[in-house]
Amino acid sequence: MKTQNVIYILVIILISNSCVDKFWPDVDKYENVLVVDGLLSDSNDPTTVRLSYSSSINSGDFIPAVGGELYLSSSIQDDVFFDETEPGIYMITDTSFKGIPEAFYQLHIKMPSGNIYESEMCSMPLSSPIDTIYNVYESKQVYVGGMEEHGLQFYLNNHSDSYDTCYYLWKLSSTFKYQASFRIHYTFEGEFIPYPNPDSLRTCWFSSKENDIFIFSTQYFDEPIVKDLPLNFVSTSNKSLSIRYSLNVNQLSISKDAYDFFNALKQQNIDQGNMYSKQPIQIKGNVVSINNKEEPVLGYFVVAGSTEKRIYVDRPKIPFTYVECTPDYDLRFIRFEPPSAWPIYIVDIMFTGWAMGPTNNCFDCRLDGGSLTPPDYWIE
């Protein structure tokens, strides 16, 4: 038996234990390049372009590019101008403006330096309907070598009636309702003070964008159908699924060039750390400098047909692995705590229960990032 163990270990070392450690090498070179990040769609969301400069790998700051003059020209509409609503954030504030499918658009930028940048002429593809978004209980290793996690894997099906080949970019956002582990019944500051509204800090709604790039193209498929495309995986190791969860999928129908751009970004990020990784490359977008053709411009001005779909999921009957808080104090000894520890929150039924230290996410759900009011779109 012992020899077998030795053999296991050797094989595991061989096959899986190519170890990965955090390691920050010295990177002394830095390129300061203009970044254009914009989206024009046929939805009602205001058209926004973020202009920034790339920052050093060691700092990673967002450096807004301020003072730009931006306008959008098109094949069927008048030129529309952008306003800089925040540093580096440029918006078409005219709420009546939105893109028209199959029209051509071009973004024009003039920076205070006098340099002029233009996007390519982009046609706006027609949007396609999202047929279904569904989920399946799965357990998986979220990262290599990690524990197996339980959760829901979301999938998407769609089809297109407009094109033979479709290119998609999906932007996902999650919202979930959750509760802190405890209610507050009393506070203790030398004496017990009944807490006016025990549930007031307990229930929150948390919203976030999914970081991953979700893209797909049907170019290598017979039909323009996306079937069982995996979206995000929501684990039960946190409270996302504990009460009610909502996933909003914004499906953007994009051009092949835009797809190639996002695909290159995604593949390059995934590919790093692979044994057979490719040489990373500069990924070119669709904005060029007019004054200096050699000047690199990063980012993409996306022109897309947009569809959205939101779904809700109540707590599923699957194994949950998140951990509730354990109280800090035994109530029986609470009087021995010095005033510096005050206020102590009494989070369970008096005389039999437990107490928590000062401000804490165990009874204040806001400290986990949520908000006490549900978002406008939330449906119970």
């Binding site: 990177v27 290793q141 970004l265 044994m275 990784s277």
Partner: protein, 929 residues
């Protein structure tokens, strides 16, 4: 002891040794097992031919006996000692293939001090006697000294100072008789002559003072100063140079470091391969090749290797003339060659012989063992990863033998027991087999049949699976003419295929396959038509048939659109001739030409493009259709081989070489390390073949008792290197010319090596300094990579240092160790971070501007031989080894990743810890058998 009675038995053979022939040192060569149990007369005859051995027998005759050759690693001396010692004979050899057999009295190795015909003072003689010493295992009976100047002739007889004729007779000291083929070298003129078959010599010289150096195979060099005035006579007696019987070292045949014209050449025997510790105890020729100077890899576990700054697809692997296109198991962790079957391997990286072609950088030529013609024998071993067994023996005694070796993993079984689901659901099986038949049809005809098979089946946690298969076979016939020339004809077949299944996404599940068929016919002729010339000539033809494969849906649920990459066919034929010409004892010249004719054959449709514009779907001007076997494009190329060796003295030489080669098949790869699913592609209508030139210059020195030293510098340039364009997608790149660019590779470096091939303590140490870079900038079409600037190759390691040592503490205990250092390979780091929709994105710019951390590793192994009892059934060896003793986490790669809004940097290491292993090897019979 006088040598009066030494009679020369094989007198006629000596005529072949008129020139100073130091190759083929019979005393160091092993006696083939085929000579076991033959009579003395047969033995004498056979070894005279095959080993250039000469026998000098004191009594003239020997008692009747049969020679016993018990293993394949015995020298003539060992074999004769075994047979004759018990009947009172002593055997002594010199280093040059002469064996002296004496009766009764032990041979005195001190011989009388020779004296010249002229007078030398008594005091001078006694002085030289003091200098007597044992040097290099040889008894120096008189040290090299220069006597007083001898005056020859009379100035009155030659007042015009015309050229004078100096004649003489050279004999061995005592009554040894004339010395045949002895050299007389004139130091001042750097020229000389040799004695004829009667021991006479003639020199025509202008009057003057000269230093003559008398030398022969079996005697000690003697320097004489003369003052030549007119015609005259100078007879000379040379002392015999005999070995002191101390210990007999068994040495394998080896290429001479100093004297051969070969440069950039490494040959390692099975013995060396067995002694070097390797990861998980799996003996591996490729991992061992990585310890040689100029040989590097992208990283641990990466398949293939890089020779002198060239990509891995510029190396060719042969096993018994059979090409092997996929040389690794398990994606490169192990090599696909069963170590038990390997006899030796040769790596040509500098001057590649004209008979090889088709690869720019190196030829890795593996020779397998020949099955024993006498008795059955088997060996095998178990390591943590594999079990292997090899058997050999006669089918018809002394006529036909077989050898069969098989190796297989049992990792599948192990993996199933592991709890971790990622591993439990993985499968990793590999195995290989070798089968050889050797037939000695008659004295001059030999036939070898060889077959090779290797397979890998790998499944990674249910989503990706790979299957690789290599099959090869060769029929080799060799025919000898009058013991001088030989003809080798071989027919070779090789088949490499793989299949990949990917089901990571059910609806995009795909399957792809690939196959390469290689058929080759070689006719190779070695000729020695004139003295001092060795000519190698021949023809070779290779038919390539490639099935670039399908990319198709794996099952019904998959909506993948099938792509057929199509088939390719080409014929690469070559005719070559090379001559190694020994111009003088000191200068050897090798010149060779090889004409390659490559024809890309139909059926195929090819595109033509607008001139001077990028090849892309938009620039197509025409489609040309070709029928089956119709030539589509023909490329002719002339290869050159040139090398020269200047022997500065017997232990020192300078060599220079120039090579030009052509390569018509390359690997389509867009990854830094070769990926398992990379495919070979032929040069075609639009993709030109690669051409490579290499210049090298080297200094070689043998010193001390057994040390070989060398310094080699090289510069090479390869044109038409195929590189993928930025962002090209391999999987869907059907029309290759749309996705690749051709550029130039430049590499240069210098390699220092000191080797001690023999002795209780042996090994080597080397250091290389190397640079390699790529430039892809097509100024006509405006296409480039890396902004048209030169960038370091992915596998460039400027500094590498390897130390390989073996120490035999006793016959049963051997320690060995490696120490490896190399600079980190180049890597591309991000030039900046930017934001897209609130997410951090990495911006990369120029290629390979940085380097990963340096690589450092120490390996140790202890080999414990079983007992040395003479009669036993089997002998076992335990090898305990530790790979990466310091546990250093050597970087394979360093990379940046944007994860959940944060940019992280990581270092990946493959073997980030010590790896201990125990290997048990066994063989039938005893230690030495």
């Amino acid at each position: 002891m006088k040598n009066r009675n030494l009679s020369i038995l094989i007198f006629l053979l000596l005529s072949q040794f008129i020139s100073v022939n130091i190759f083929g040192q019979a005393s160091q060569k092993f006696v083939p097992l085929t000579l076991n149990n033959v009579t003395w007369t047969e033995f004498k005859h056979e070894t005279a031919i095959s080993l250039n051995a000469r026998y000098y027998i004191q009594t003239g005759t020997l008692p009747y006996f049969r020679v016993k050759v018990k293993s394949d690693s015995l020298t003539v001396e060992d074999v004769l000692t075994e047979s004759l010692e018990k009947v009172g004979y002593k055997i002594v050899s010199d280093n040059n293939g002469s064996f002296f057999i004496t009766k009764g009295i032990s041979l005195k190795t001190q011989l009388p001090i020779g004296f010249f015909a002229m007078q030398t003072s008594v005091s001078e003689i006694s002085e030289t006697q003091k200098d007597q010493k044992v040097r290099d295992g040889k008894l120096v009976t008189s040290s090299v000294y220069v006597a007083k100047t001898i005056v020859i002739g009379d100035v009155k007889l030659n007042p015009q100072k015309r050229k004078c004729l100096l004649t003489g007779y050279v004999t061995g000291s005592g009554d040894a008789g004339p010395i045949i083929g002895g050299t007389i070298y004139i130091d001042e003129l750097e020229t000389g002559t040799a004695t004829d078959e009667n021991g006479y010599y003639q020199l025509k010289l202008l009057p003057g003072k000269y230093t003559l150096v008398f030398k022969s195979l079996e005697s000690i060099e003697r320097n004489v100063k003369i003052n030549l005035l007119s015609d005259g006579k100078l007879d000379m007696s040379l002392d015999q140079n005999l070995y002191v019987l101390q210990e007999v070292e068994i040495r394998s045949a080896q290429e001479h470091n100093v004297r051969s014209t070969q440069m950039g050449f490494n040959k390692l025997s099975a013995k060396t391969i067995n002694e070097i510790p390797v990861v998980l105890g799996e003996k591996d020729v490729i991992k061992i090749a990585l310890l040689l100077p100029g040989v590097t890899s992208v990283g641990e576990g990466a398949s293939g290797f890089n020779v002198r700054g060239s990509p891995a697809d510029q190396n060719m692997f042969f096993v018994e003339n059979t090409p092997v296109y996929n040389t690794s198991h398990l994606f490169g962790f192990f090599s696909a060659f069963n170590p038990d079957v390997i006899d030796n391997f040769t790596l040509y990286k500098g001057s590649i012989p004209a008979k090889f072609g088709g690869r720019l950088s190196s030829i890795f030529d593996i020779s397998t063992k020949t099955g024993s013609m006498d008795k059955f024998s088997a060996r095998g071993g178990i390591s943590p990863i594999t079990a292997r067994v090899m058997a050999e023996g006669p089918i018809v005694k002394k006529k036909i033998s077989y050898i069969a070796g098989i190796r297989s993993t049992y990792s599948d079984w192990v993996l199933r027991m592991v709890k971790d689901p990622e591993i439990r659901n993985s499968k990793a099986y590999f195995g290989d087999a070798v089968l050889g038949f050797d037939a000695n049809i008659n004295e001059s005809n030999k036939l070898k049949l060889f077959g090779y098979y290797s397979e890998d089946r790998i499944k990674l946690s249910n989503s990706t699976s790979y299957q690789f298969k290599n099959q090869g076979a060769s029929v080799n016939w060799s025919h000898g003419f009058r013991n001088k020339h030989d003809l080798n004809v071989s027919f070779v077949f090789s088949d490499y295929e793989f299949e990949e299944e990917n089901s990571e996404l059910t609806f995009a599940a795909y399957k792809q396959n690939y196959r390469l068929l290689h058929n080759q016919l070689n006719v190779d002729l070695n000729l020695q038509p004139f003295e001092n010339h060795t000519i190698n000539t021949g023809v070779s033809g290779v038919l390539y048939r490639l099935d670039r494969g399908w990319h198709k849906p794996l099952n019904d649920q998959s909506g993948v659109l099938p792509i057929d990459f199509g088939k390719e066919k080409a014929l690469e034929s070559a005719v070559y001739v090379s001559d190694s010409w020994k111009i003088s004892p000191l200068i050897t010249l090798l010149g060779g030409l090889r004409y390659n004719l490559y024809t890309y054959l139909g059926p195929q449709s090819v595109y033509t493009y607008m001139p001077n514009s990028p090849m892309s779907p938009t620039t197509i001007t025409d489609t040309l259709n070709f029928g089956n076997n119709q030539p589509i494009k023909t490329y002719g190329g002339l290869d050159y081989r040139f090398s020269v060796n200047f022997l500065l003295n017997p232990n020192m030489s300078i060599k220079a070489a120039y090579n030009r080669l052509h390569q018509y098949i390359f690997m389509l790869t867009n990854t830094i390390a070769l990926s398992p699913s990379d495919k070979w592609k032929l040069a075609d209508y639009n993709i030109k073949p690669m051409v490579g030139d290499q210049f090298s210059l080297g200094y070689y020195l043998n010193f001390g008792k057994d040390f070989e030293g060398s310094v080699e510098a090289y510069y090479k340039k390869a044109h038409n290197l195929v590189e993928y364009k930025d962002g090209a997608d391999l999987v869907t790149s059907k029309i290759v010319e749309w996705d690749v660019l051709q550029g130039d590779l430049d590499a240069y470096g210098i390699e220092f090596m000191i080797k001690k091939p023999f002795g209780r303590f042996n090994g080597w140490v080397n250091y290389s300094y190397a640079h390699s870079s790529v430039l892809v900038n097509n100024t006509t079409t405006g296409e480039n990579i890396n902004f048209g600037q030169r960038y370091p190759s992915n596998f460039e390691h400027p500094h590498t240092f390897n130390l390989v040592t073996n120490f035999k503490a006793s016959r049963r205990l051997i320690f060995s160790g490696n120490l490896i250092f190399s600079s980190g390979r180049p890597i591309t780091y991000p030039a900046a971070i930017y934001y897209l929709d609130g997410e951090k994105v990495l911006h990369y710019s120029k290629r390979n501007e940085y380097r990963i951390p340096n690589y450092f590793r120490i390996d140790l192994a202890v080999k414990l031989e079983g007992n040395l009892v003479s009669k036993k059934l089997a002998h076992g060896v335990f090898i305990f080894s530790v790979y990466n003793l310091t546990g250093r986490k050597n970087a394979y790669s360093v990379y940046f990743k944007s994860e959940n809004g944060i940019v992280n940097a990581y270092k990946m290491s493959i073997f980030g810890t010590q790896i201990f292993s125990i290997t048990y090897d066994f063989k039938l019979g005893n230690y030495d058998d």
